[in-house]
Symmetry: C2
């Protein structure tokens, strides 16, 4: 008998019929002899409806964050009540809690609060008497009793934090995909579902734009050693287990290929190469609250160096304006940018102990005539920037080159991915 925390997102609870399916899954787990805690998001569309009201109320101003959280938190509050009604109608003892009722104590950073503490005792009591416990995702309460929300992906974070507080055996994240794939199956039809992946790999994949799980929830799970499983609400199957590396674990060279279409590249060329130059270029950018992702500085040539970095496409215009000003100050030769790029990355803990991964990658791309514009590496990841028109070609080439392709005839089904 295990303690399982299950999290269902907005599209999994988007109608009474879907809530009934969630109830059946929770009951099946309970009847298999496990203790079950279910975390749910707001019904699909509800958060949009509430945001629309908030925009009407605040007009051109930003809605005040305390009130916005109070408003948005009604979404999950409604879902937990409805799911508990369905569970009880199906004959199962069940009890539900809002974030404030659990209580999930957070700081008071409204709209993006951090969980500080969870009082697991009332839930433990309920589980002891055989109840299925239903908890509102995405929300908590600060020490003054004001309701807070955890920001995007908050329900995943709630589930993982609850699993940690309850010392659960597994935290199951139900989505509309049936697991984590070697790459996006819409780009590579031969993409394979992974049985297992490490937290580190999942973190890299999440940060590179694979939207199956929110990065915060993965970090949290890694930190508290909560085994995490991603699986489908709509299909049967074991999903993908995200765990710590262990010795029994078969360790493939590469776990997955991620890509990100949302970045743009900016370069400043012919900058005098002297100490502090990177800070001089990037300081004004980060002061403008623009997040910089990849940074590459070439070796100096005749006392001059080139400096390239990527930002989110939404920040491109703003970053370019700042960079042009910096270029004048520094007497740089030239500034240019490119929004038609894509970032393509290999991720795998296996590459730590295997030489040759990088060269295999670069050769595979070269064989297809794809020019690499930027490279940056970490211990378990190699990222490249290429022309965006080569995205599909590049992903497929790498997928084959690293032996990730599924057997002929393996079926892959993916609906639109969502995180909430």
């Amino acid at each position: 008998m295990a303690l399982i925390v299950q999290k269902y997102g907005g599209s999994s609870v988007g109608s009474i019929e879907r809530i009934e399916r969630v109830a059946q899954k929770a009951i099946a787990t309970r009847e298999a002899g496990h203790d079950v805690v279910v975390v749910v998001s707001a019904m699909k569309g509800e958060t949009d409806r509430l945001m629309e009201l908030a925009r009407g109320a605040a007009q051109k101003q930003n809605p005040p964050p305390r009130e916005l959280d109070l408003l948005l938190s009604t979404g999950e509050q409604a879902t937990i009540a409805l799911l508990t009604m369905v569970l009880q109608r199906m004959g199962h003892s069940a009890r539900c809690y809002t974030g404030a009722q659990v209580r999930i104590l957070t700081d008071n950073a409204f709209t993006k609060a951090r969980i500080l503490d969870i009082d697991a005792e009332p839930i433990d009591e309920d589980l002891k008497v055989g109840r299925i416990v239903v908890v509102a995702g995405f929300q908590g309460v600060d020490e003054n009793g004001s309701i807070t929300t955890l920001g995007r992906g908050g329900s995943d974070t709630t589930a993982v934090a609850l699993a940690a507080a309850l010392n659960a055996d597994e935290c199951q994240i139900y989505t509309d995909v049936d697991g984590v794939y070697t790459t996006d199956p819409r780009v590579v039809p031969k993409a394979r579902r992974l049985e297992r992946i490490t937290f580190e790999e999942m973190l890299e994949l999440a940060s590179l734009g694979s939207k199956v799980l929110q990065i915060r929830a993965v970090e949290f799970a890694g930190k508290y050693h909560v085994p995490l499983r991603v699986l489908s609400t709509f299909e049967e199957g074991p999903g993908t287990l995200i765990t710590y590396e262990d010795e029994d674990m078969e360790e493939p060279l590469i776990s997955g290929i991620a890509f990100n279409r949302d970045e743009a590249k900016l370069s400043i060329l012919g900058v005098p190469d002297k100490p502090g130059i990177a800070a001089h270029i990037l300081g004004p950018v980060s002061n403008a609250n623009i997040e910089v992702d990849m940074i590459v500085q070439n070796i100096s040539n005749e006392g001059l160096t080139d400096f390239t970095f990527t930002v989110h496409k939404n920040d491109y215009e703003k970053a370019m304006g700042i960079l042009e000003k910096t270029a004048k100050e520094l007497g740089a030769r030239e500034v240019f940018g490119d929004t038609k790029i894509v970032k393509l990355s290999l991720v795998g803990v296996g590459m730590r102990s295997h030489a040759g991964v990088a060269s295999t990658m670069f050769s595979a791309l070269a064989n297809e005539g794809i020019n690499i514009q930027m490279i940056s590496t970490s211990e378990i990841k190699i990222s490249t920037v290429i022309d965006d028109k080569y995205l599909e070609l590049g992903v497929r080439a790498l997928h084959s080159a690293f032996g990730l392709d599924a057997e002929e005839g393996a079926q892959v089904k993916v609906e639109g991915e969502t995180v909430d």
Copy 2:
């Protein structure tokens, strides 16, 4: 400088535009130098939407009450957030509280909880620093932290209870009518708005079917001596003040004429007149959870008596079935019923000290050829049952007979009445 509690119902906050009007009214009161606490209901239509979801979740069963309350309470939670956003956008410091946050402590009778205690301190603090305070109506929290709702008319009750706890100078109930009328203006175009009315009169009017205020809120206000004012959200005007009788108060003979179309009459004739007979007849009716309103027993004639009572029309068939069984047991001569009746009542504290009110009433009805089927009286009320086809005629006759008609040309405007 006074402390004013204002309550706005669902149609007053039915859209962002209407919420803006509510905000303007609250701000105007604040800018006139008063402390303001605003109690709001769920947006019109929202409670129906949530009930629809609950019915879907519970299917043919009744939704479990704890979860139903948790679900329904999201309605007012959304309204307080939106109203506070609008107040802040309009430049006013404002803060909002759910019932649990205030906290409004209730018993745990979900869907019809009673308020036990209110912690007024946080609201006092907000008022001290000039904030407009917004509180969710209709909801509270029990001692286990479960959210409760107060049942029909609960927002009125919240407002009155808050006014009592805060020792407010006035509790203003904003509705879509501009006050309490001498009778229903849709029946008598010459009906007049009352400047003042006593709690006792208002209670009688409310219990007789005038739906301006919920009877529980009036009782509560009377008990805690909270001056209550009914006025319109949509028009300017002083409304009607509901107070304790005081010596300065002009005391009209009759304050109003109420009627109720929802009752049906049942009679059992030729019953042996012996002690305990009333209990024998009414016991089985009340055991079936049927509420009995008027009860009349005629004097005994040759050891036999006739017994008549009224129930809500919805309970008529059930009550008739019970009465037929009782009649057999008692050897009664005959049982009959009538659903085509209406109850017509005069209300006025003045009638205490004035003889002749009853005879004036009966003459006025007789002059129009209206037969009186039942009569029952209390200290400040005389109720009659008449054939329902005479309703309008009877009300107008009484309205004139007691000098209640408005001056020629006085304007009366009434939209549909709502209570929530």
